[in-house]
Amino acid sequence: MSIWQRLTDGVPARALGALMLLAALLLAAPFLLRVLPAGDYWLSILILVIYFSYIGQAWNIMMGFAGQLSLGHAIYLGLGGYVAAALYVNLGIGPWLGVFVAIAAAMLAGGLIGFLGFRFSLAGVYFALLTIAFAEFTRILFDHFKWVGGSGGLFLKVEAEGSAFNLQGSPLLFYYVILALAAAVFVLCRWLLTSRLGYYWLAIREDPEAAQAAGINVLRTKLLAVLISAGLTAVGGVWSAFYYKNLFPESAFAMGRSIEVTLAPIIGGLGTLFGPIVGSALLVGLGDLFTTLAEYLANTWGIKAAGLKQIGYGLALLLIVMFRRDGVWPWLARHLGFDRQREDRP
């Protein structure tokens, strides 16, 4: 079976068509958005959507596919960003090279956490707490790590002469880089799900003991999920470090950042390929909606209160979780008719 056949096997034609349309729209989006008033703003929102869908997809490999709950993914984002940024700022090594060191660093951390956690058979909340503990530990270490600026932070200069060679440039560059990453990870995830490894993961997610009994090397298979997820997340960390151009341990390794990573895939639909994308679009959209709403309230009615925006966001989140607990995508896919298998399948 060719790669293309394998990737598209069992996907309804209308879903494939819709996907192609989406890809074309996203490729043309920066030029389409230019017609709108405040087109730059909408592009920045779209960048956020794609960024969160990318890291959500990476996290989903570990939790959605292999069933290992990580609430400490900020450690991989933070390590990735810090490694690439420090190499660039301190040694002049560009991010296209630095990203490989960043991936290696994150995989090392992931390997350590995964090995310890799985070797000592931690699962569920206990494993999640272990990931939190390591992220917090790293945050405190980086607070005192002077080579990368300690708690004072690490800054990337805005280079007027910056070239794409050093991942410096306009939002357009960052848009296409993150879009390429998101598209690549989407295809990779589909490929993984149709591979032997993917089936092993699903087996472990559904019943680790049965998987073990069936002869799957559970420790090794779970470790692979952590390694792949950590490495991909680190790439997102590098992108975000160069996009935002500053890093602080307090935010780079924050618990809140780890939680941000988990939102899109859980709200969108855990273990599904479109979950992270739909979840990210929904959540970023809601965040923007409530920001606008809070501004409107403040300007028109004079109602000003800090936290109003987040109250709306929290309420929306609560309602989605309560009424779509398997995520929005499975429900949406059913209504769009994307979940039906092709007739010619045995």
């Binding site: 939790m63 709950l69 609430l71 310890l116 000592f120 931690l122 569920g124 909340v125 206990y126 999640a128 707490l129 272990l130 939190i132 503990a133 390591f134 917090e136 530990f137 405190i140 607070d143 005192h144 708690s151 618990m255 809140g256 939680i259 988990t262 939102l263 859980i266 709200i267 855990l270 209160a305 800090a306 936290g307 109003l308 987040q310 109250i311 966001y313 929290g314 309420l315 989140l317 609560l318 979780v321 309560m322 607990r325």
Partner: protein
């Protein structure tokens, strides 16, 4: 650090005693988390946020009515009980027994709502209470104990004692323990498990609310403390043994002391390295907690 070893030891001892007193309040906070998990297997990811709500209620009582947090404590605990009871009945109950990530997301939404409600009502500034004994202290030999910490620790001990009496001496308490031990068995003998779960969540919330009122005597409150308290409560219950009441109290004392001692031996900014290091070690080597017997 002092050059004189005697002086240094005294500083250390002083820190340990202070840590024990603060740790008592930590213990009460973690007790709430442990009770909720022990009975209905729900990890309350909004625990620190409930703590902060308790702190704000105590601050409002002080600010508006001039009430000492020690006096407003029963009212704060009662308010949190009602909140916890209603929350369990309406929002959390359908999620009992569901996968952890669903409960996590649900309580995360609750946490976002709580912390931002505090922010919207009280603003981002820090608030504290000025009680008239805030600069008093007790001298025991060479040790100086802050009166506020002593009162807070004693009150926390009283609340924990009341809780122990409730769970061992009253019918409702025994019924809750029965439901925790054997869910189906409890249903078979005709216990109203839904009601018991709601009461349990209310009790857990009341515990953390009481702890919040007491904590306000020691520290000032602002909304962004919440996530730190959530993490702290997790560290404590894991170290003491998730679901164990005595473990939560002992874990609170241990973490209180370790923070205080780390503040003396290392830089204050490194104080949570001890707690997270301890958390990692306990998770790996004794996941059932330091006190609990291996099951």
């Amino acid at each position: 650090m002092s050059a004189d070893p005697g002086q240094f030891l005294l500083t250390l001892l002083q820190a340990i005693v202070m840590g024990l007193l603060t740790g008592m309040v930590y213990g009460l906070m973690a007790l709430g988390l442990s009770v909720i998990f022990g009975v209905m297997r729900v990890v309350n990811f909004a625990h620190g946020e409930m703590m902060v709500v308790g702190m704000y209620l105590a601050w409002l009582a002080f600010d508006q009515l001039g009430l000492d947090p020690l006096v407003s404590l029963p009212a704060v605990a009662a308010a949190l009980f009602v909140f916890g009871y209603v929350l369990q009945r309406t929002v959390i109950n359908p999620f009992i027994g569901l996968p952890e990530h669903m409960q996590f997301m649900l309580l995360l939404a609750v946490a976002i709502l709580l912390v931002n409600a505090c922010l919207a009502i009280a603003g981002p500034d820090t608030h504290g209470v000025q009680v008239d004994y805030m600069f008093d202290s007790f001298n025991i030999g060479p040790l100086v104990l802050d009166a506020v910490r002593v009162y807070a620790a004693l009150a926390a001990l009283v609340v924990a004692g009341l809780l122990w009496l409730f769970f061992t001496r009253t019918r409702a308490g025994k019924a809750i323990r029965a439901a925790a031990d054997n869910h189906i068995g409890a249903l078979v003998v005709g216990l109203d498990v839904r009601q018991l779960y709601a009461v349990t969540f209310g009790i857990g919330a009341a515990c953390v609310g009481a702890a919040g009122a007491l904590m306000l005597l020691i520290v000032q409150v602002h909304p962004f403390l919440a996530i730190d308290y959530t993490l702290l409560a997790f560290v404590i219950v894991i170290v003491g043994g998730l679901g164990s009441m005595s473990g939560a109290l002992a874990g609170g004392l241990l973490i209180g002391v370790s923070e205080a001692v780390a503040g003396v031996l290392l830089q204050p900014s490194l104080k949570s390295v001890f707690s997270f290091g301890l958390l990692i070690l306990v998770l790996l080597l004794r996941p059932q907690g330091l006190l609990a017997r291996r099951s």
